[in-house]
């Protein structure tokens, strides 16, 4: 006699976690039908490979559980096998929308561990490129939030501006995108006056273009209807969940690491910190647009004040010497050989240094035991921590609001998954 095959329903751990999630929304529905939907890793609106499991009642979200790890490349284990210099190209690929900012953050952490400082011209140029990276990242945010909500024209316009920025990065560092421009103790090479002129021209034209994009969005009642009041989070919840960056400043908390714990030359520059109340998607949008305008101000000031000088510190045992010296002098050749083979040898100890990246607080925790490779390198990525608040933000919202919330949080999976 034939036996019917058994149907085995495999309950994965993540499904159990979804069922254990606290459902705080009650609904008077005679049908009372729950459905579990998978907004999978491949999705046009999830900004990369983010998987969301949502429990729905019709179109309303009751509970949700995000799943990461689809882009886990093993950075922290890689760092234990690379020397400090070799890790710089890897930091480009963390937050791949603003690679120059990550380079600066990592190099500042290593310089704090070594106890050396880059010369003033290098500090000013690092500030310049950090702010240009911030403008590039926020333009991408503008384009993708508008595209997710339905306004495709703004995406095309912001990409046109980003192409001009890519040309500038190519002139500064040699690559459009993954630049690896900073070095321990300074920069890879200097910036020519002609490049500074091109930057000045770009910055003078940018406010007009931003105004055009804002004209399309700020008073558009379709855009406001989709974004206003959606995905709100309170101030206490935001601090408890560890949000940083524009998402925290949109909840009314004034925290910006450029002002709170100043690094590079932010002490000498004059800029404001935009803070909005509300904690919803519209507030996050306003904060980022205001930040673009502040960054324009900072870049103009840096272009005025930039001093002449060299871009590499004079510390032969720690800083890679320039190639023209390596090819002609004996001392520099020996130092280059030792540094490339054995790495910079820092004293034993640990540091944690954080900068204000465009997405939030990007921190590097380095524990070194005296060898040329770090014993432990931890990357505190802002997108990882910001994504934790998604399940709080989309409770009680509809499916199309999830798209707007993820777009306004602006996560980058390259750094969330490390």
């Amino acid at each position: 006699m034939e036996q019917k095959p058994e149907t085995i329903i495999r309950k994965t751990k993540i499904l159990e976690a979804l069922e254990n999630e606290h459902v705080s929304v009650t609904f008077d529905d005679p049908l009372e039908n729950d459905m579990v939907l998978n907004m999978g890793p491949q999705h046009p609106a999830t900004h990369g490979v983010l998987r969301l499991l949502i429990k729905l009642d019709g179109e309303t979200v009751l509970a949700s559980v995000p799943e990461l790890g689809y882009l886990h490349r093993g950075y922290e284990k890689l760092a234990e096998n690379c020397s400090f210099h070799e890790f710089i190209p890897h930091t480009d690929r963390l937050d791949y929308l603003s690679p120059l900012s990550n380079n600066t953050a990592y190099v500042l952490a290593v310089e704090k561990l070594l106890g050396i400082e880059a010369p003033p011209r290098a500090q000013y140029i690092r500030t310049l490129i950090s702010e240009l990276a911030r403008i590039s990242s926020h333009l991408m945010f503008l384009g993708s939030l508008a595209m997710d909500v339905g306004a495709l024209t703004v995406w095309m316009w912001s990409f046109r501006e980003r192409e001009k920025l890519y040309d500038i990065f190519e002139k500064i560092a040699g690559a459009r995108f993954t630049t690896s421009y900073t070095r321990i103790g300074g920069l890879a090479q200097d910036v020519t006056p002609e490049t500074l002129g091109i930057i000045r021209l770009f910055i003078s034209e940018l406010p007009e273009k931003i105004r055009e994009c804002e004209k399309l969005l700020n008073t558009n009642h379709i855009f406001l209807g989709r974004v206003d009041g959606v995905g709100s989070i309170s101030k206490e919840q935001a601090i408890d969940l560890g949000l940083t960056g524009p998402c925290l400043r949109a909840c009314g908390v004034e925290l910006d690491l450029r002002r709170a714990n100043p690094y590079l030359v932010y002490n000498d520059l004059d800029f404001n910190i935009p803070v909005y109340e509300g904690g919803d998607c519209l507030a996050r949008y306003y904060v980022r647009m205001a930040e673009i305008k502040e960054s324009i101000k900072i870049v103009l000031q840096v272009l005025e004040k930039i001093p002449a000088g060299e871009v590499k510190a004079h510390q032969p045992k720690k800083v890679l010497p320039g190639k023209h010296q390596v090819y002609t002098k004996m001392e520099e050749l020996i130092h280059d050989f030792m540094l490339v083979n054995f790495g910079v040898e820092p004293p034993q100890g640990e540091v944690y240094h954080a900068v204000e990246a465009p997405k939030g607080e990007l921190g590097f925790y380095i524990y070194s035991n005296g060898e040329g490779q770090p014993w432990r390198l931890k990357i505190r990525s802002p997108s990882f921590v910001n994504l934790q608040s998604i399940s709080v933000m989309i409770k009680g919202a509809m499916i199309s609001d999830i798209v707007a919330v993820v777009g306004s949080l602006d996560p980058v999976m390259g750094e969330a998954d490390k």
Binding site: K77, N81, G349
Partner: protein, 163 residues
């Protein structure tokens, strides 16, 4: 020692003197080593104290010291919104059954950080509401960031779809 660091250390020693095993300062940053049974108390005191107010847990990570006793450590990087100051707490646990009490009750952000530490090192956090793996698939049997796990992985530990 830095003025703010001294104040933190003084207040902590005054309130919970036996919870401070060791304290040192490197490049202006204070590191306090705490025994693992007292970690929740220390964290709660540092968060709720009026003057210190360390209300943002910036980072929580694990570390594998590869020593025979006290092999695994957990490191807490704290930040205060009021005084804009940073300190670091460290606790250690042993190799056989690494267990540390969870601080999810003090800061909600520790949830995902502790899950990631469990995934990478195998340290079990007692009292955690939802301890699952974060990055690797659920069926993965090893803990990648331990020093005895090779960088290139163990062949056969993860399977690929067929061509």
């Amino acid at each position: 020692m830095d003025v703010m660091n001294e104040k933190v250390l003084e207040k902590l020693k005054a309130k919970l003197s036996d919870a401070v095993l060791e304290a040192n300062e490197f490049r202006g940053e204070l590191t306090i080593i705490v025994p693992k049974e007292r970690i929740v108390e220390v964290c709660r005191f540092l968060k709720e104290d009026e003057e210190l107010a360390f209300d943002l847990l910036a980072d929580l990570c694990g570390i594998d010291m590869y020593t025979p006793e006290n092999r695994f450590g957990v490191i807490y990087n704290l930040y205060s919104l009021k005084t804009k100051h940073r300190i670091r707490l460290k606790t250690f646990t042993e190799e056989e059954h690494p267990r540390v009490p969870t601080v999810t009750g003090v800061w909600g952000t520790a949830n995902w950080h502790e899950r990631e530490t469990y995934d990478m090192f195998g340290i079990i956090f007692e009292g955690h509401p939802d301890l699952r793996r974060m990055y690797m698939p659920d069926e993965f049997e090893y803990h990648p960031l331990r020093k005895d796990f090779p960088l290139m992985g163990i062949p056969g530990s993860l399977d690929l779809p067929k061509k």
